[in-house]
Subunit: 236 residues, 2 copies
């Protein structure tokens, strides 16, 4: 990959180098592990990504240099976290473009397609279904490419112990996040986070260990029907 010496006329932010960092299966595996928003020690991250510590270490260096992840020293361990929601967003955006035209089915992917976390909010069939249910009840209004939450939604979130303050935060109240599996937006932003927390705390969904997939529980099935009038999309 001989670098060109002439001045890059455009795209002065070096997209090429950033893409090069993302163009390795092991590094994507590591980022994928980190997409659950938790911090991992380097060794753990290496094991989850199926590489040796030495390999993980060299990859880590590049991820840090690209400012995709941040590292904090904790005792003799070094904990790695995703640098922020923007990173998760870009990865999800890339996934949207990367999804093959004729979707090759993978049983493993089916779980992810049905329900998963996207950094800190719900995605997949379930995420989209929830968004549609909220719009149907008038708790959420679609505006442009975003969503405007109605007062009833704030009330509902507060009643489920996850109140969302309206003002005073840098992060947007609600955002629309494009789904790679559904190709349709779901709710992100602070509202999206709160919704996901209600689902997880209420044990409406359970994390499938080792992946970002979520399993809809029986309890969750009932809750969705009673609370949101939502027909369960797919038995999963």
């Amino acid at each position: 990959m001989p670098r060109r010496t002439q001045p890059r006329s455009i795209q002065d932010p070096d997209v090429t180098s950033l893409a090069a960092v993302l163009a390795d299966a092991s590094r994507i595996a590591m980022l994928d592990v980190l997409l659950d928003r938790k911090a991992y020690a380097v060794g753990m991250l290496a094991r989850r990504s199926r590489v040796t510590a030495a390999t993980a270490s060299s990859h880590l260096r590049r991820l840090v240099d690209a400012r995709l992840v941040v590292v904090t020293a904790v005792g003799r361990e070094r904990h790695v976290r995703l640098a922020g929601p923007e990173v998760a967003e870009v990865l999800e955006r890339l996934a949207v473009l990367a999804v093959p035209p004729r979707p090759r089915l993978s049983s493993r992917a089916a779980e992810l397609r049905f329900a998963r976390t996207c950094y800190d909010h719900l995605a997949g069939t379930l995420g989209v279904a929830v968004r549609m249910a909220l719009v149907d009840r008038g708790w959420l209004h679609a505006t442009g490419d975003s969503f405007e939450p109605a007062p009833a939604l704030f009330t509902w979130l507060a009643a489920h112990h996850h109140p969302v303050p309206i003002e005073g935060h840098r992060r947007p109240l609600s955002r629309s996040c494009l789904d790679w599996s559904e190709r349709v937006p779901h709710v992100a932003g602070r509202i999206g986070t709160a919704i996901a927390e209600v689902f997880l705390d209420g044990a409406w969904v359970a994390r499938v260990r080792g992946t970002r997939a979520l399993r809809l529980t029986a309890r969750g099935r009932r809750a969705l029907t009673h609370e949101l009038g939502l027909r369960i999309p797919i038995p999963a």
Copy 2:
């Protein structure tokens, strides 16, 4: 880059391969040329990207396979276009992440920072300034991470010969597009396109040949003051 054989647990859309396509300076240069939304013959594209026809051809193959560009045969030429606005969006998103922490100044980049096209709408200092002016006059309301155009804006656009129908289109009326240079959103979507067209048709801005940069004309300076009450951000 030895591919791992084990089933990729997550990220089933193959982000790695897509990123690999974007991880080459020549291909980014080609995409960058195409970001102006026009179609280019392969030879022209090769010249603008400073590679031989043979090299461009092999890159083109990969870009087509990744469905980032589309090709239409025209006589003995083959015309290349960006596959769609989503591609431009992802590139702009990547650029946001790729922008270096201590912005290294480049005189060439300064033009781009001030004003440029982003696929089909205005970006850069000017794009952001226009967005803020529209919000100030109440012609645009910020909602979540998008914008809601007010009736006055539709009237203004129609008066300048670029009416925007409210309904009946798959593309969103207005979108918010994050600016890599300003790190602040500007207006995209059908409204964003119409605004850019008013600016270009009215010769308020002129394209700088060979790049996506825009130059603010004297006429544009006057128009911005009179029509939008906008103080010119920077003499450029």
